[in-house]
């Protein structure tokens, strides 16, 4: 198959996709842009919900795991500077702003 045929098939597929988008948007009384924006927002919500579930089940699974207890304790004992020692003090900033 020559390159021109590949381009032609790709172009037809793209046209079909665009036509399908127009059909779906029209069926909902939306512009194509508004329909795509709504679909993106739905996708984002779905991803966020899935992530929240992963976070909740992830913590639940290791809640009583001694492997993590030991490493958590080890990391918490490592030397560190507090945010205020780094020069970051959001509470003072908030007080100043108020």
């Amino acid at each position: 198959m020559g390159n021109s045929n590949v381009v032609s098939i790709t172009y037809r597929a793209t046209q079909q996709d665009a036509e399908e988008l127009r059909r779906r948007a029209a069926a909902r009384g939306l512009s194509v842009q508004a329909y795509m924006d709504r679909q993106l927002a739905l996708d984002r919500d779905e991803v966020e919900q899935r992530l929240r579930a992963v976070i909740a089940t992830g913590y639940a699974r290791i809640q009583h795991d001694p492997e993590f207890d030991a490493l958590d304790a080890e990391l918490a004992a490592r030397p560190r500077s507090l945010p205020s020692e780094l020069g970051f003090n959001p509470e003072a900033q908030a007080r100043h702003a108020a």
């Binding site: 992530l51 909740a56 290791i62 492997e67 490493l71 958590d72 560190r80 507090l82 780094l86």
Partner: protein, 132 residues
Amino acid sequence: MSQDAGHALDFQTLLEVSANAPGAPHVQDFGVPFAASARIGLNLLDQDVYHGATMKTAALLDMLLRHPWLEHHQARAAWVSAEAQLAVNGLAIRRDVKSSEIGGLLHQIAGPGVALADVARTLQGWTERIAS
């Protein structure tokens, strides 16, 4: 490259993970999760510097375990961040992976350190695609 370069978890999601850790620990160094997110999302010359979901997860674990940033439960937060990072790429840790194996890997990363390619290889062996 033919393999999927993978998606990177953003800073806000890392903060959400830490906020959900037991006892809601304070973030003591915001720069660490910020740098972790920036690191795994880095793209230079039109190429991801950390290519693929497991390589990005390896770099994320490296950042979140080797620098103190969370008041407590840092290892748990790092691991759950890694699970979230895999999830946004359609991957999950297989249930038959023992917690002792995970703990061993995290201890190695937090302690002497492990080459990222080795961490990525280990994670590759531990993951499965999430059924949609």
